[in-house]
Amino acid sequence: MSNNKKECIAMLLAGGQGTRLGVLTTDVAKPAVPFGAKYRIIDFTLSNCVNSGIDTVGVLTQYRPFELHQYIGNGQPWDLDRLNGGVYVLPPFMRAKSGEWYKGTANAICQNIDFIDNYDPEYVVILSGDHIYKMDYAKMVEAHKAHNAQCTIAVRKVPMTEAHRFGIMNMKPDGTIYEFEEKPKQPKSNNASMGIYVFTWKTLRKYLIDDEADPNSENDFGKNIIPNMLKDGNMMYGYDFEGYWKDVGTISSLWEANMDILHETEGLNLEDESWKIYARNQAEPPQFVGESGKIVDSLVSEGTIIEGTCRNSIISHSCKIGKGANVEGSIIMPGAVIEDGADVRYSIVGWNAVIKKGAKVGETLPPSNPGEWQIAVVGPAVTIKENGVVAKGEMIG
């Protein structure tokens, strides 16, 4: 059991239900939801870990974990099948005398203290499995070390007018955090926490155990652990992150993040060879565009057959777009079929859904104000009948 030591390991919180994604997360956890034509949301965080040189990742699952467990498998697609370390799926488990669900983010980590201790790490990176971004955690750990900090929290600037929706870190000019406010009515600054933490393990371990003993605690990093550590005067730093980052917790943010891939100016560049995003591969033949196919400003993946028109859309692997079908401003998830003459606009079509001939889904005309997209959602494996209509903003599943 010795010599497993790792300087730094990552714990990835992937247990949330993601209720705001509605029918998309009825049967799968949010991190397993498809993204960007061939990925799942969790691919970004897992790839970040590998690209940052972190080769030991615990993935904490709880809600509808089957799909996620199957997807992660032995971690090979992310190069996380290692002799020492690699990726581990960590669902809640029974103990000799008890056993319970993960009650909160901190409790989930606390229940896995033995797993972490096994690697005897100096630092633990805590991550969320439902964010789309590319980040070098190694640099953040370096900053943590340089500051001799107990906790480093990644922060990004948000517009002052929206700061009240976030956990706000109030920092001194040198980056020291002196105050944390969860969704403040009168924000003092606009440094929003990204839910990405680096902790010195010895310190975190102690706080997790103390927090567990407090019956009034919600066992949450943001609500309990961070405030307690601040109160005790620990060295805590904010780590500025300026790249692309999006929490894809809502239908509109999921749609926007997908669309951001199409518009490089938004800063989500998947093509960077030095920071590849890995995904489990589907072994599908290349895509085929038929005689009547027309595709502009779109992203299309393998195994897909396109006979219709696609504009400003994400067409995932193994889809079929029939003759005369029109897909605009939409996300078509893996295996979905849009039959001949169907019209899909400003919508998300779930995996293996079928939009029958002549059906109309979503906005018929673009809204006059582009900020007011009302995305229609067709749930996974749902069939919309011939000439059926799904209104804008409607969710079927």
Binding site: A37, E271, N281, A283, G290, E291, G293, I295, S301, E302
Partner: protein, 371 residues
């Protein structure tokens, strides 16, 4: 077939004249259908039939093949028991040269065959795109109580390296010969894929080698047609034998046909290949793509018609690609045109260049060239 049959694949260029396309590789690692190498098809067919102990005998230029196969993981062949074994050529004591022909090649892997726990061997060349159910081959072999089952197909594409087969009404091969001038129209031709009991194969090889024979077909099978029951298994699936640039081009273009794609990719088993983690393909504002196969990782802002684009090809604004095969990592710059061209990997066609061949004689641009 599971656990009873081992596979031996020949990754040599013998019988192939692919010229510029095989300067840097063997026919087995020739890119095909947008994201595959030719060997993927026969390898996936074997894996699909539960053949999991596969030896690949290479001869020359096998770097690209080794790079493609690695440890066999992408075909689920990274096994503790069996899996993939690559046999680079080595000098035989007697001949002071690398092997000449299949008999010597099989002699070099005699030890591998002896040690294997399987009783049957499936032998195949690797320049064939096919999606076949090998279990049917085994079934036919046992039903006909055959010594050797030979896979054949009916084709007009007859050439000197593949024998024309005559069989009787029971499907037993009674004659095999080189094609002659009078051979017009469809003929039954040897695919050079064989199913045979391992012990028999080893004894045939030992005997032939001792006599200094080289040619598996002419020196072993043909003289023994009277003594051994050679069962003719006529393949009805789609078959593409790639041995000339013209056949490479015409068979590649056939894959644009949905019926051929269904046969080749979905009929019996999944065709597996090396995973490269390419990003999905991006179609930009000026993209006009019709009747084409496009692999992942491309960025298209030009016109593509009746063509095959491999991974990570960039087609810039105003560029027009018609009736062409464009391999991995090409950049086709602004206002250039390609018609009936095959551009190998890493080719750059600079702006305003116009390349054109003819359908029976496509223009080939060698790997890495800048035009």
């Amino acid at each position: 077939m599971k656990n009873k049959t081992m596979g031996i694949l020949f990754a040599s260029n013998s019988g192939c004249q692919l010229n510029d396309l095989t300067i840097h590789r063997t026919a087995s690692s020739l890119p095909f259908a947008g994201r595959y190498r030719l060997i993927d098809f026969i390898l996936s067919d074997m894996v699909g039939a539960g053949v999991t102990n596969i030896g690949i005998v290479t001869q020359s230029n096998y770097n690209s093949l080794m790079d493609h196969l690695r440890n066999g993981r992408d075909w689920d062949l990274n096994r503790k028991s069996g899996g993939i074994s690559i046999y680079p050529p080595f000098v035989l004591n007697a001949s002071h040269d690398v092997y000449r022909g299949k008999i010597e090649a099989l002699k070099t892997v005699r030890g591998f065959m002896m040690e294997a726990k399987e009783d049957y061997v499936l032998l195949s060349n690797t320049n064939i795109a096919i999606n076949i159910d090998f279990d049917e081959v085994e079934k036919s072999h046992l039903e006909k109580k055959a010594d050797i089952t030979m896979l054949t197909y009916d084709t007009e594409q007859v050439n000197a390296v593949r024998e024309v087969i005559t069989s009787n009404k029971d499907g037993r091969v009674i004659d095999m010969r080189a094609p002659i001038a009078a051979d017009v129209g469809k003929k039954n031709v040897n695919l050079q894929i064989y199913f045979i009991k391992k012990d028999l194969l080893i004894s045939l090889i030992d005997e032939a080698y001792a006599h200094g024979f080289l040619d598996f077909e002419k020196d072993i099978i043909q003289p023994k047609l009277n003594n051994l029951v050679v069962n003719n298994f006529v393949v009805k699936d789609y078959v593409a034998v790639i041995d000339r640039i013209a056949t490479y081009f015409s068979h590649s273009m056939e894959v644009l046909d949905p019926k051929v794609r269904d046969e080749l990719f979905y009929k019996n088993c999944t065709i597996l290949t090396k995973v490269k983690d390419s990003v999905p393909t991006k179609y930009l504002e000026n993209a006009k793509v019709k009747n084409s196969i496009i692999a992942d990782g491309c960025v298209i802002d030009g016109t593509v018609e009746n063509s095959i684009l491999f991974r990570s090809v960039k087609v810039q604004k105003g560029a027009v690609i018609r009736n062409s095969i464009v391999m991995e990592n090409n950049i086709i710059m602004e206002n250039s045109t390609l018609d009936y061209a095959i551009t190998d990997k890493d080719v750059i066609i600079q702006a305003n260049r116009h390349l054109s061949g003819y359908d029976t004689y496509p223009m080939v641009v060698v790997k890495g060239k800048i035009i």
